[in-house]
C-alpha cells in the first residue's frame, strides 16, 4: 500500500532495546536482583506486546487476556506431559491451544465494541479460569500442572540445555526478538493500517468497505496465539501451569503493564510497562508486603493525570504528526 512514508523493518530503538536486554544477565546480579527476574520480565514483555496488538493498536479493550496466557501454559504442559516432550512441539501446542481459545472468543465478541467488549472478555476469561480450577483430571485443579520440565532446544546440529536461568533468558530473548519484529511489521503493514482505522472510527471503517468483523476476529486470534506463546514460556520458566494467571487479577495486571508503559501511544510502551511492573513488585515488595497498594495508587494517578503512560512522557510533541514512527 502506498503511504506518505515507509517504516524501516529495523529501527535504532528496536536494536537498542534488544541489545539492552542482551546485556541483562551480565549485570543483573550486581545490582542486587536475580537472573530469573530477567526471564520473567521478557516473558511478560512478550505477553504485553501481544496484548497491545488488541488494546493499543486496535482499540479493543480486552480484560480477559489472562485466559489466553493460561491456555498457552496449560497447552505447553499437557503436550509435554501427555504427548511429545519436544520444545518446538510444545510451544506449538501452546500457540495452538491459545489460538483455539481466541477463535472461540472472537466468534462471540467480534461484533462488540467499547465497554461491552471488555465485559464479554471478562466473562470469557472467567469461564476459562473456572474450567482450569474445576477440571481436576486435566488441569490439576487449583494446584495446577506440576513437574513441567525446561526442555532442551533442538537445533538439528546442536542441543542447548535451558535448565539454567541465563540460557533460558537468551532463549526467551530470541523469541522476544522474533515476536517484536513480527508485531512491528504487522502494525506497520496495510493490515495494521486497517486496525488503526477501526480503532479511530469503527463505523467509518465499515462504511469504507472493510469487513471490520473479520479484522477484529483476526487480531484477537493472533494476539491470543502470541499470548499463549508467552504463557508456554512461562510454564517452562515456572516449571508449572496454574489457574492464577487466568484470574481477573492477572488479566488486569497485563492491562496495567501495557497502560503504565504507554502502550496506547508507543510500540515499545508495553515492554517498559512490564519492566516497571515487575521491578515495582520486587523493589516495593522488599520494603512492604502490600506492594499492590502503592502500585495501585500509582496506576490510579496515572489514569487520572497521564493516561498515555510513562512512554508518553518520553515522546516529543512531533508524534502528533507521525504517530506511527515511534
Amino acid at each position: 500500500m502506498r503511504s506518505g512514508h515507509t517504516v524501516p523493518t529495523l529501527t535504532p530503538v528496536m536494536i537498542a532495546v534488544w541489545a539492552a536486554f542482551a546485556t541483562v544477565p551480565l549485570w543483573i546480579e550486581h545490582v542486587g536482583l536475580y537472573q530469573y527476574l530477567g526471564v520473567e520480565v521478557l516473558i511478560f514483555a512478550t505477553y504485553a506486546l501481544a496484548y497491545n496488538l488488541v488494546l493499543g493498536h486496535s482499540g479493543l479493550p480486552s480484560f480477559g487476556h489472562g485466559a489466553f496466557f493460561g491456555l498457552g501454559a496449560y497447552g505447553f504442559g499437557l503436550a509435554q506431559l501427555n504427548l511429545v516432550p519436544d520444545l518446538w512441539f510444545c510451544l506449538g501446542a501452546a500457540v495452538a491451544t491459545a489460538s483455539a481459545g481466541g477463535t472461540l472468543v472472537a466468534a462471540f465478541i467480534s461484533h462488540r465494541r467499547g465497554i461491552y467488549y471488555s465485559l464479554l472478555t471478562i466473562a470469557f476469561g472467567q469461564v476459562f479460569w473456572f474450567i482450569a480450577i474445576k477440571w481436576h483430571t486435566v488441569t490439576g485443579g487449583e494446584d495446577g500442572l506440576l513437574k513441567i520440565e525446561r526442555l532442551p532446544v533442538q537445533l538439528g546440529v546442536a542441543t542447548v540445555d535451558l535448565s539454567h536461568n541465563v540460557s533460558l533468558f537468551y532463549f526467551v530473548l530470541a523469541i522476544f526478538v522474533v515476536v517484536s519484529l513480527l508485531l512491528w511489521r504487522l502494525v506497520h503493514s496495510p493490515f495494521g493500517r486497517i486496525l488503526r482505522a477501526i480503532k479511530q472510527n469503527e463505523t467509518r471503517a465499515r462504511f469504507v468497505g472493510y469487513d471490520v468483523w473479520r479484522y477484529k476476529a483476526a487480531v484477537l486470534i493472533l494476539s491470543a496465539g502470541l499470548s499463549g506463546l508467552a504463557g508456554g514460556l512461562f510454564a517452562m520458566a515456572q516449571a508449572s501451569a496454574f489457574p492464577d494467571v487466568m484470574s481477573l487479577h492477572y488479566s488486569g495486571y497485563i492491562v496495567m503493564m501495557t497502560l503504565v508503559g504507554g502502550g496506547l501511544v508507543t510500540f515499545w510502551g508495553p515492554v517498559l510497562g512490564a519492566i516497571v511492573f515487575l521491578l515495582a513488585r520486587d523493589v516495593i515488595g522488599a520494603f512492604t508486603t502490600g506492594w499492590m497498594l502503592w502500585f495501585g495508587m500509582l496506576f490510579v494517578a496515572l489514569v487520572i493525570y497521564k493516561p498515555e503512560g510513562l512512554g508518553g512522557m518520553f515522546l516529543r510533541p512531533a508524534r502528533t504528526k507521525r504517530p506511527e514512527a515511534t
Partner: protein
C-alpha cells in the same frame, strides 16, 4: 430428578437471586445513571462486610470500658447496628472514589473502568494490611440463624431473612429513584446533563449523591451476604463478577433488568447446583453468553454511550 426434588434448589435459587440482585443494584445505579463501570464495587462490598464484622464481634478502636459495654450488648443489637452503621462507614470511600473519577468523565468509559480496577487493587490490599488474609465469619443472631424443617428438608433460616432484607433494600432504592425529587434530577442529569445544569442544579453534588448511594448499596449487600459467603480479602472480586454478569444480562441502565437478571442467575446457579454443584457458578457465565449472543443489549438494555 423429579420436579419435587428440584423445588428446594429452585427456592434456594430464588433466595440467592434476590441477594445477587441486591449486589448488582448499586453497580447498576452507578453504571446506569453515571455511565461509569465501577470495578471497585466488589471492594466496597468487601469493606462493608469487614466493617460489619468489626462492629458486631466487636473489634473496634474504642476505649476499653466502652468496648466492653458494647460487647455485652445482645448480638441482635450489634448485628442490627452493623447492618445500618457499616454502610455509613463505607460511604466516605465512595466519595473519594467519585472525586478521583471526576477526571475521567467525558472520556472513554474505559478509563473509568481502569481507574476503578486500580482502586479495587488498593482497597483489597488495604484490607489485607488491616485484617490479614484469614477468613472471618460474621455471627448471626440466634433468632434468624440455624435452620428449620419443611417438606422433610432442612432450610437455612438466615437465607430467607437475607432475601427478605434484599427485597426491602431494593424497594427503598426504587422509591428513591422513581418517587423522589433527587431521583428525578439524577435521571434527568443522566439523560441530558447540560439542560439540568442550565436549570440551576448542581450536577456535581447529584453525582456524588448517586455514587454514595451506589457505594452504600454495595456495603449493605456486603453485610447481608457476609454470613452466607464468609469474609475474606478476595471476596470483592468474587462479588463484582456476578454483579456485572447480572447487569449485562439484565441490560445496562434498567432497574427491573437488574432484578430479573439477579433472579435468573440465582435460579440457574441453584438448579445447576442440583446436577453438578462443582460447576454451578459456570452456568452463570454460560447464561450470559447465551443471552447476549441473541440479545446484544441484554434483556431490557437501552442504547447508551458505552457502546461508542
Amino acid at each position: 430428578m423429579s420436579i419435587i426434588g428440584l423445588l428446594p434448589h429452585l427456592v434456594n435459587g430464588v433466595a440467592l437471586g434476590l441477594l445477587f440482585a441486591l449486589l448488582a443494584l448499586g453497580f447498576m445505579l452507578i453504571l446506569g445513571l453515571m455511565e461509569q463501570i465501577n470495578l471497585a464495587h466488589g471492594s466496597l462490598f468487601a469493606l462493608g462486610a469487614y466493617f460489619a464484622y468489626a462492629i458486631a464481634t466487636p473489634r473496634l478502636p474504642l476505649p476499653p470500658d466502652l468496648l466492653q459495654a458494647w460487647a455485652a450488648a445482645p448480638l441482635g443489637w450489634r448485628f442490627a447496628a452493623a447492618v445500618f452503621v457499616a454502610p455509613v462507614l463505607v460511604a466516605p470511600f465512595g466519595v473519594v472514589l467519585e472525586r478521583l473519577m471526576r477526571r475521567t468523565y467525558g472520556r472513554d468509559p474505559l478509563y473509568g473502568l481502569l481507574l476503578t480496577f486500580g482502586a479495587a487493587m488498593v482497597i483489597e490490599e488495604l484490607i489485607r494490611i488491616v485484617w490479614g488474609t484469614r477468613d472471618y465469619m460474621l455471627p448471626v443472631p440466634r433468632g434468624i440463624s440455624g435452620g428449620f424443617l419443611m417438606l422433610d428438608l432442612v432450610w437455612s433460616t438466615y437465607r430467607f431473612w437475607a432475601a427478605g432484607f434484599a427485597v426491602i433494600a431494593m424497594a427503598v432504592v426504587w422509591l428513591v429513584i422513581e418517587r423522589t425529587r433527587f431521583g428525578a434530577l439524577v435521571k434527568a442529569g443522566a439523560h441530558d446533563s447540560e439542560i439540568v445544569q442550565a436549570l440551576g442544579h448542581d450536577l456535581e453534588k447529584l453525582r456524588v449523591g448517586v455514587f454514595v448511594l451506589g457505594t452504600m448499596m454495595a456495603a449493605v449487600a456486603g453485610v447481608i451476604l457476609a454470613p452466607v459467603w464468609g469474609i475474606r480479602p478476595h471476596m470483592g472480586v468474587d462479588a463484582v463478577i456476578p454483579a456485572f454478569v447480572i447487569i449485562v444480562l439484565g441490560g445496562v441502565g434498567s432497574f427491573w433488568g437488574a432484578v430479573l437478571g439477579g433472579l435468573l442467575v440465582g435460579m440457574v446457579v441453584g438448579l445447576a447446583g442440583a446436577y453438578a454443584s462443582e460447576w454451578s457458578m459456570l452456568s452463570m457465565y454460560l447464561l450470559l453468553i447465551l443471552v447476549v449472543t441473541f440479545r446484544s443489549r441484554g434483556l431490557f438494555g437501552k442504547k447508551s454511550v458505552l457502546e461508542a
